[in-house]
Amino acid sequence: MPDIVLRSNDGADHKISASTARLSRTVASLLQDLEASKGEDAELLIVPIPNVCNCTLKKVLDFCEQQRAFDDLVRASPAAQQPEVTRKTQAWRETYMKVSTDELYHLVMAAHYLDVPGLLGLCTDAMADHIRGKSPSQVRACFGLKPNLSPEEEDDIRRSNLWALS
């Protein structure tokens, strides 16, 4: 399969193989349309990704490439080595997910837009980590939420959720 170019919203190009790019379902369907309109043998397909910035796109493509390498590895390696491979991927993912909240936010939005199945789960899990074990005010601080519940409402919720908050 030929290489394609993904162009982020700030105009940076990323050249990757089409099979890697197809891990994103959005890109896959865009590619299909492009190929249909230009014919199979169009030279270099340029896919604009309008709402993802350069560095986030890079990060997403990192994931896609690793995911593909992992898939290949799983297919190639014998059954006895599968746990080893899985553990390696998990280790990789853990380091991959060491990002700031800002980055995480952009990453999750990108994963949602590009529809990369594994990545969205990974990101939302990491985001859930920011919530687990925190009090409401801590959650608010972490996510920059404005307390927009009226005092009565909040009081009501607090009372019914006392079992969780104490």
Binding site: D102, G133, G144, N161
Partner: protein, 271 residues
């Protein structure tokens, strides 16, 4: 240095000739070094790790190169380094301007939903207090169904008219004896293991309603084995592993534990 001068027809007896050929070879090598380093600097893409490597390379080059060339390289690095640093700040600023922390509250509902899907009932209830949108999302009834079923058991929950959430809340806030084990933080942590083990919208597996604590212990046992494999020097028992994870660090620890729950099927057979 003489290792580089392998011209066979050079008269090695003459020190002048030897020195001249050494100088010639040295010049060639150095110019190659300069062009290589220059290429490395120009290709350096502003990733932190790469720029560190690049700096180290330049430092080495400066040590061997004559002063003029070395300075030139350093200048080039500086311009390039500044540029990438500036790009970084620019990027960060653009991220902040697009409003990262404030934007978090504009998290689309379906993403927020899939984030909340990962949570245990305690964190879910806490998150519900955070803001109105979050409350709406967190209070969706399907999220509470497996929790309520797990606490009450299928039999007791059947035929109820109330919402699953209310059922669970009633049980959790003290009406039910089985909730007692959920109260202490450590128990809560164990409980977390159970809740997060499957996605909440899936029906709670039967064994969770039967012997939650034993299952938790089982999960802990299996994953502690794994933790030991990772750091073979650590000798904590299961409580130790949990304690060593401070309050803030509980979540990753929990995630690590439940991810590798090896004997789920085995446990079912043993029952």
């Amino acid at each position: 240095m003489s290792a580089y001068s392998d011209d066979s027809d050079v008269e090695y007896d003459d020190p002048q000739v030897v020195l001249a050929s050494v100088a010639r070879v040295k010049k060639g090598i150095l110019s190659e070094l300069v062009s290589d380093t220059r290429l490395a600097i120009e290709e350096c893409d502003g990733v932190a790790r790469n720029s560190v490597i690049c700096k180290a390379l330049v430092n080495e080059a400066v040590r061997t190169l004559p002063q003029g060339k070395g300075k030139e390289l350093q200048r080039l690095l500086k311009s390039q380094g500044l540029k990438s640093a500036r790009e970084d700040t620019k990027h960060l600023k653009s991220l902040q301007q697009s409003g990262a922390p404030p934007a978090m509250e504009q998290l689309p509902a379906d993403i927020l939903g899939s984030v909340l899907d990962w949570l245990d009932p305690y964190s879910l209830a806490a998150a519900a207090c955070a803001s109105k949108q979050w409350q709406e999302e967190a209070y969706k009834d399907r999220r509470w169904r497996p929790f309520a079923l797990a606490i009450l058991g299928t039999a007791r929950a059947s035929g109820q008219q109330e919402s699953w959430r209310e059922l669970f809340f009633q049980a959790a806030s003290g009406g039910h004896s089985r909730t007692a084990y959920m109260r202490s933080p450590r128990r809560m942590l164990r409980q977390t293991l159970l809740w997060t083990e499957t996605k909440p919208w899936q029906e709670a597996p039967d064994f969770r309603t039967v012997i939650p604590q034993q299952v938790a212990r089982f999960i802990l046992k299996g994953s502690i084995q794994e933790a030991r494999d990772d750091h073979s020097d650590s000798s904590e028992d299961e409580e130790g592993v949990l304690c060593s994870a401070g309050h803030g660090d509980i979540a990753p620890a929990v995630r690590k534990l439940w991810r590798t729950f090896p004997g789920r099927l085995k446990l079912k057979q043993e029952q």
